[in-house]
């Protein structure tokens, strides 16, 4: 039986009928399989949650210990069974704990890749190519204009700005989960060993990353700094929503830095009032999306959230059958996570 008859989207998420589970459901369900911890994929209140140990930890950090009565840790590469559906988790390379989910049923192999990337990321194992019949891919940056430069180049721009504006507090907008830690690590790898100052929203998740053995260097909450003028010439990381907010007014001589894949497009960067836009993304750029489809070499490509049209067009040009899979809750304007 073709998966289009048993794997469907509804207003909660992607539902596997024979297995009786949802993947990344948006409202509480009895059984949820979760690819990763971003809020547009991981929600609280499910009766049973199956996901990686790291993702469970992230969900508990965000939603509390009691975010779900039954929490099951899934090991990578080890199959689970839901009725006659076989499910296996594989690394997706997106953020700490992120997974793809292989579903095998009725002679078909379907890979739900969740969000993924192909660049090196020291906080998670790399994306694994899983052969399958149907590959469900995101298309967040599914347009040929998106080519993410190396993170080292972008970090160098920030360091250069610190040299040119030595008295400015560099306020960096970075999503609290994934982006923030990746930026910190890239700064450390580039030889920046000053303390990095954090907005309250970034603290807990950074501590969580550290508890998984990821070294982030010296981090100091902004709230512990009584005299904020001491922050001139330093780096403060805050959620993107705090950049233009009143919170930032207490900082001295602010230079606004924004980290996101969207920063490649001038108008988007301008809308975010970024004075220094850095193109740093936890998603694939266009060449990587095409590379992945080539390597996975499925029979069909199903395209979800983002700019599906162009990726479908291109996949068909490459000889694959392609269709759009509209999922709820994946709004392109959850920009910060991209």
């Amino acid at each position: 039986m073709h998966p289009s008859t048993w794997l469907k989207t509804d207003d909660i998420g992607l539902f596997c009928e024979p297995g009786g589970f949802y993947i990344d459901p948006m409202s509480p369900v009895s059984t949820a399989l979760v690819t990763h911890g971003h809020a547009d994929h991981a929600r609280a209140g499910h009766d049973s949650v199956y996901t990686s140990a790291e993702t469970l930890a992230i969900m508990r950090t965000r939603y509390g210990e009691d975010m779900s009565p039954h929490q099951y840790t899934v090991e990578m590469d080890i199959p689970l069974h839901f009725n006659d559906v076989r499910v296996t988790f594989y690394p997706a390379g997106h953020i700490l704990g992120s997974s793809q989910i292989l579903i095998e049923h009725a002679g078909y192999r379907v890979v739900v890749s969740g969000d993924y990337k192909r660049r090196h990321d020291p906080t998670c194992p790399p994306f694994k190519v899983i052969p399958c019949d149907i590959f469900i891919t995101e298309a967040t940056f599914g347009l040929p204009v998106f080519k993410h430069p190396p993170i080292e180049d972008e970090i160098e721009k920030l360091l250069q700005s610190l040299r040119v504006f030595p008295n400015s507090c560099h306020l960096v907008g970075a999503y609290a989960l994934g982006k923030c830690q990746r930026v910190i690590i890239a700064l450390r790898e580039a030889g920046y060993h000053q303390p990095i100052y954090l907005h309250g929203a970034q603290l807990k998740l950074c501590e969580l990353y550290q508890s998984f053995g990821i070294d982030l260097g010296k981090l100091i909450p902004v709230s512990e700094i009584a005299d904020k003028t001491a922050l001139s010439g330093n780096i403060v990381i805050a959620p993107p929503s705090a950049l233009a907010d009143r919170w930032s007014r207490s900082l001295p001589n602010v230079r606004t830095v924004m980290t996101s894949g969207w920063m490649q497009i001038r108008a988007r960067a301008k809308q975010r009032s970024a004075e220094l836009p850095l193109i740093i993304s936890d998603h694939c750029d266009w060449p990587e999306l095409l590379q992945t489809i080539n390597e996975v070499n499925p029979k069909e490509v199903w395209v979800t959230h983002g700019r599906e049209d162009a990726l479908m067009y291109q996949a068909e040009k490459m000889g694959y059958k392609a269709r759009a899979l509209s999922l709820v809750g994946y709004d392109e304007d959850t920009q910060g996570e991209s």
Partner: protein, 527 residues
């Protein structure tokens, strides 16, 4: 080219005017001639030719990129140059890149049939950001938020000069401005512009105060209508070998191309100061009529005949080649009257003098004048004042008519810039049509810092939606909006546009449904 691209990149993302000025000044300091002069020209918009046509760019990219993917990308990016910059498939970096002046010279000398090939070569050796700079430069479409006026200020600050000196020089020097920049560096004398037709910085007025009105003495003042057009300066020298004529805005922009009808029949050697208006013979048309002619670089013959312009002259800086700026106004006026009598031209009209023999009469005059919607109020100029550029105190006064006011409802708010950044300080407000509010305008000013804080707070508590940087708010707060006039407009859904709207008072007390209707506003349209 690297430095120029980097400068544009930084200017594009910098919002504060001060920081922009600093970036440009730094660039001028470390960049040699003639590169920096070309950059100034590019920013000021004084390059005189397109390096290549937009169509050339479109053709080049359509030969290299799948048209469907280009269309989808363009649809998302929203701008051709940036889309092309990202999608250009070939990249063979060259270091260093040709300099800005090499690029300019190359495009100015290349034959038409080779333009495409040259452009393709350049695009291939550049990064996306550099390609964007080249494409914007080459089609003269830089939009980096630096006006022609502010670049003059930057140059003045850079050389430690008064902006008036730059304004005077501006139309007599040409890209790449080596002579001006070397002078600003202190390494050469000021460029000689004796015979050139150029802008003379204008004399401006202050709003009148009650005390000045109370001390009014007949005979001391020249009283004129304050016309509702645009202040211009007409500069003409047809007696030299290469005759020149130009019409400048009050900030020194050359607006001659928009008004060929004004200039064609003029001759002589003079500089006149006056108000540009749409005039049907002696009859002055509304500002709205004039607006049809503004910013049209190549007006059609039909537009020109439908909205012919004329100049109401109120002062003369130069007549028959003689400078009059040191002379008192009464003398200049006398000379002007004589000159106009001798050099009659149906586009030139002398501004009529009004009279009042007492404070009382002056007040009555103001009231009478203001009943005419084509007149903005009165001008009072001291008859013994010489022509002093800038805004000298106590010489010229404007006495505007009282503004119109309307009660409108705040609909949207946006954060401001500069010292107001992060405060919601830009407001869109609307008037009622039946049960629906239609936006009628935007205002950024008119409130105190204290009120700004309260407004900001109100927006945050009453936001109900978001469109990019714009917040939609609950339709609950009434503001009294003051404005100078209301015009019919096809651009706005409400069908009206306000002139100089500003927030007059915040009506925390007034319920939204008691705000004014669109019909009330339409009743104020001048005819």
């Amino acid at each position: 080219m690297e430095a120029f691209s980097q400068l544009l990149e930084q200017l594009y993302f910098t919002s504060s005017t001060k920081a922009k000025a600093k970036l440009i000044a730094d660039y001028l300091k470390r960049t040699p001639d003639p590169d920096r002069g070309w950059a100034v020209a590019a920013i000021a918009g004084t390059l005189t030719f397109d390096f290549f046509k937009r169509n050339t760019v479109k053709r080049l990219i359509s030969e290299r990129v799948d048209p469907a993917l280009f269309a989808m990308s363009y649809d998302y990016v929203g701008e051709v140059s940036e889309t092309v910059a990202h999608l250009w498939p070939d990249f063979q970096p060259r270091s260093p890149l040709p300099s800005l002046s090499e690029v300019v010279e190359c495009f100015s000398s290349v034959s038409k049939k080779n333009v495409s090939a040259v452009l393709a070569d350049y695009l291939t050796m550049m990064t996306p950001a550099q390609r964007w700079a080249l494409l914007k430069l080459g089609t003269r479409g830089l939009r980096i938020g630096v006006s022609a006026r502010s670049i003059k200020q930057v140059l003045a600050d850079y050389g430690g000069k008064d902006i008036k000196e730059i304004e005077t020089l501006w139309h007599a020097v040409h890209p790449p401005y080596d002579n001006m920049l070397t002078w600003l560096d202190g390494n050469a004398p000021k460029p000689d512009i004796k015979n050139a037709v150029t802008f003379h910085p204008v004399m401006l007025s202050h709003p009148i105060d009650d005390e000045t009105i109370q001390h009014y003495q007949e005979g001391e003042w020249q009283i004129e209508n304050k016309y509702d057009g645009i202040r211009v300066q007409l500069s003409c020298n047809t007696v030299k070998d290469e005759p020149e004529k130009a019409l400048y805005s009050r900030t020194g922009d050359d607006i001659s191309p928009s008004f060929p009808d004004m200039l064609e029949s003029l001759s002589g050697h003079m500089v006149l100061d006056g108000e540009l208006l749409v005039m049907h013979g002696e009859r002055v048309d509304t500002f709205n009529a004039l607006q049809q002619r503004l910013n049209k670089k190549k007006p059609s013959a039909a537009l020109i005949s439908q909205y012919p312009v004329g100049l109401v002259v109120y002062d003369a800086l130069v007549l028959n080649g003689t400078s009059l700026t040191e002379r008192p106004l009464k003398y200049r006026r006398e000379m002007l009257e004589k000159w106009l009598a001798d050099n009659g031209n149906n586009r030139l009209h002398i501004s009529s003098l009004l009279h009042a023999n007492s404070v009382e009469a002056l007040r009555n005059l103001h009231e009478t004048v203001c009943q005419n919607r084509a007149i903005e109020g009165l001008m009072l100029k001291q008859r013994d004042s010489s022509y002093i550029p800038g805004r000298p105190k106590g010489k010229w006064y404007k006495w505007k008519r009282d503004p119109l006011v309307v009660d409108a409802v705040i609909m949207y708010a946006q954060r401001g810039h500069g010292k107001r950044s992060s405060f919601y300080s830009d407001f869109t407000f609307g008037a009622w049509e039946n049960a629906q509010l239609l936006p009628i305008g935007k205002a950024y000013s008119g409130f105190t810092d204290e009120e700004l804080k309260k407004l900001d707070n109100w927006v945050r508590r009453n936001a109900i939606g978001r469109f990019g940087p714009v917040r939609e708010v609950k339709k609950a707060l009434v503001v009294e909006v003051a404005f100078d006039a209301v015009h019919p407009s096809t651009r706005h859904k409400s069908g009206v546009a306000l002139r100089f709207p500003r927030i007059h008072r915040i009506r925390w007390d007034k319920p939204a449904d008691e705000a004014d209707t669109l019909a009330t506003l339409k009743g104020l349209i001048e005819t």
